[in-house]
Symmetry: C2
Subunit: 410 residues, 2 copies
């Protein structure tokens, strides 16, 4: 049932001397080396994992499922040095490194993944995959299965006929991916935001397989605030007439709606400190005063529009709707009782979060920590500082480097 | 130039004995009387103030301008017992009392306006008006002038030909309204949110006329966070094909976009504590599991949709866009320097705000207080508690009753 699409090639760390010397940046190299802060500098090989058939938690069948994945470091002979990383709502598998020979690292957690770093590629085999219904369905390096994929039964894109999938479905696909590499034990499972939900779900469903759990900026349940926030992200797509009830693959996609949705994602994932420290009240166009023209914008509006437009080019609107639903349906353990769900976790747990998070309420994160602890597992709860709110769990993760290193080494 | 549309009738407080005795609620009456917490129980008479011509700060002319207004209490002979109240983004002039004989009070600040209350109708003449481009343009008791009004030059609704108006324009219309009643001095000026902007603007532009300033849940400038938040409220309307660049008065109005906009207003004006304490993860329909149907909703989504739909019936989409713009363009004093603008204020100032406000950043409110104080005025800054975030300045204002009473009595 499970096949591995491309041959996985072991990736070994080679010190980053060559490219740095080649460009004469010896001083820079030494400085970097001194802090042991080398980024993972192998060219990341994006690979594809396929399943002939997958049955969702809802009992629906998806044929010819495929998701992209990548890894950093080397799987040891005992196959017990694995760290699984799961990505956030708008993310991809690219947690570290670059896909091109001369590329700057593009991974969202480059700050903590690499030789000598907290997630030490000299020690660990770190694996990360694209989720089902990945937002960036049209990006070159992303492989995912969702409404934009061809339904083998019809030869047409699934559209809204694609079954609703859940965080647990994401977990089951990743579990199959790991099984295809004969991995059945995780040294650690770490994920940010939606990635934290997957980490928690795995540790709830298969507690004996997760040795250390690291949910970042996420909690054990989509609380009503998150239900409503996610709902607001879906709304602009449904308003766009091009959306056409999800049936747009042969026409114009609902780009305007998708852009507005992504603008809300960017805004909610940040915090006012970021907005107010990064922007001022400049106009978008020097000669278009918003006080004189109802259509004139401020610079921050234009910047958010531009970011959203760039992201929308690679994204799929239906996939966003399915991601909204996957996050909304999440409650650890899949039952009605959050207490019972989280009590199943046995792994020592390190939770990182921001008190300025506008997506996952800080009180919800703290409650999750309490319930995991009440179930008998050891829990450390650590705040992240910064001006990005929710996003500090992605862009400011470096501040947790020492704590992560210690937690992973115990 | 200025005409008063209807004759203002003096409104006097009559103790609320009659209706309570009539229904046999003597005990209730005594209990109410003991706490001096009677609501303003006169039938509120909504009146109309008209101007033949109004010139905006941008130099545009609006002919036949009209706004609704109402008052509680009696103007004294010296005409020096006036408190002006200005409303928030989605509000109307109805700060206290009811428009119908047998109606429950509907005013948003009934908790603090009435005989014996902090804004004591036995002492003060409290006046409140609808703003220009009021959101609820189609509500029975609202009179406003904006894009939905007829442009006397064309005989057609203005649509986007209506000039951009600013908080200062709102202030100038209210100033004309007060002048029509020979009032040139304000015992106090109090407003929530957008109402706070008007209060600050008046105290900045005409400092000698404002004796006490009470900005609630608002600050001296629309900071970049607010610019972006307001922008997100406008977006759904622009996405709705029925919006048609603002030209929809002879066709179908953009109700779907307006509803989504109002949903965002409700969500942003609240706080996760409210959402999580008020709602759970119930489904909207008992037999439609959101985990099985991409179109199925949770109860909180349905409630927010329903609230928005009810509000949308009375609202006008273009008016919302103009309100967004009026708020975005706001900087106290109308210049580039917030410091200079706020330094013009001389009135003793009481600022009330919530540390959980997701619309006006708490740091922005604190900064405003510092700058007013730096300009030489006395400032008191007081936090409001509750689970509503921004909205605690409206629905939980009662907690500031003693402080308001003291401040107004000095």
């Amino acid at each position: 049932m499970i096949t591995l699409h491309t041959q996985r090639q072991a990736q070994r760390y080679v010190p980053a001397v060559r490219p740095l010397l080649a460009t004469g940046l010896l001083f820079a190299y030494c400085a970097v080396f001194a802090t042991s802060s080398l980024a993972w500098d192998e060219v990341v090989e994006k690979q594809v994992f396929e399943m002939e058939e997958f049955t969702t938690q809802g009992g629906e069948t998806i044929e010819d499922l495929a998701v992209g994945w990548e890894a950093y470091g080397t799987l040891n002979d005992a196959r017990d040095n694995v760290i699984l990383i799961t990505h956030f709502f708008s993310g991809t598998s690219n947690a570290a490194g670059s896909y091109s020979e001369d590329g700057e690292p593009t991974g969202y957690w480059d700050a903590i993944i690499g030789p000598g770093k907290a997630l030490d590629t000299d020690k660990y085999y770190i694996i990360s995959s694209d989720t089902l219904v990945n937002l960036n369905a049209h990006a070159a390096n992303v492989t995912t299965t969702g409404p934009a994929s061809i339904n083998p039964q019809t030869g047409e894109p699934w559209g809204l006929d694609f079954p609703v999938v859940t965080i647990r479905d994401f977990v089951e696909v990743q579990k199959a991916l790991l099984e295809s590499q004969d991995i059945d034990q995780l040294h650690a499972f770490m994920g940010a935001s939606m990635g934290a939900l997957q980490a928690i779900e795995w540790a709830t469903a298969y507690p004996q397989q997760v040795e250390r759990l690291i949910p970042v900026i996420g909690s054990g349940v989509a609380d009503p605030w998150l239900l409503a926030t996610l709902s607001s992200w879906a709304a602009p797509i449904r308003l766009d007439p091009n959306w056409n009830e999800g049936d747009y693959y042969e026409g114009e996609p609902p780009l305007d709606g998708l852009k507005e949705a992504l603008k809300l994602v960017t805004l909610n994932a940040n915090h006012w400190e970021w907005a107010n420290q990064t922007f001022d009240r400049s106009w978008a166009e020097e000669d278009a005063d918003p006080a004189e023209d109802i259509n004139a914008r401020y610079a921050i509006e234009k910047t958010l529009d531009d970011i959203a437009a760039a992201r929308a080019e690679q994204a799929d609107a239906n996939h966003l709707l399915y991601l909204v639903k996957a996050n909304q349906t999440f409650i650890a353990g899949h039952g009605d009782s959050l207490e019972e769900g989280l009590a199943a976790i046995t792994a020592p747990t390190l939770m990182l979060y921001s008190e300025n998070d506008l997506v996952f309420s800080p009180s919800g994160v703290r409650r999750t920590a309490e319930l995991i602890e009440a179930g008998g597992a050891e829990v450390e709860l650590q705040t992240l500082e910064g001006n990005r709110g929710h996003l500090d769990g992605v862009v400011a993760i470096e501040q947790a480097e020492a704590q992560l290193r210690d937690f992973l080494g115990r």
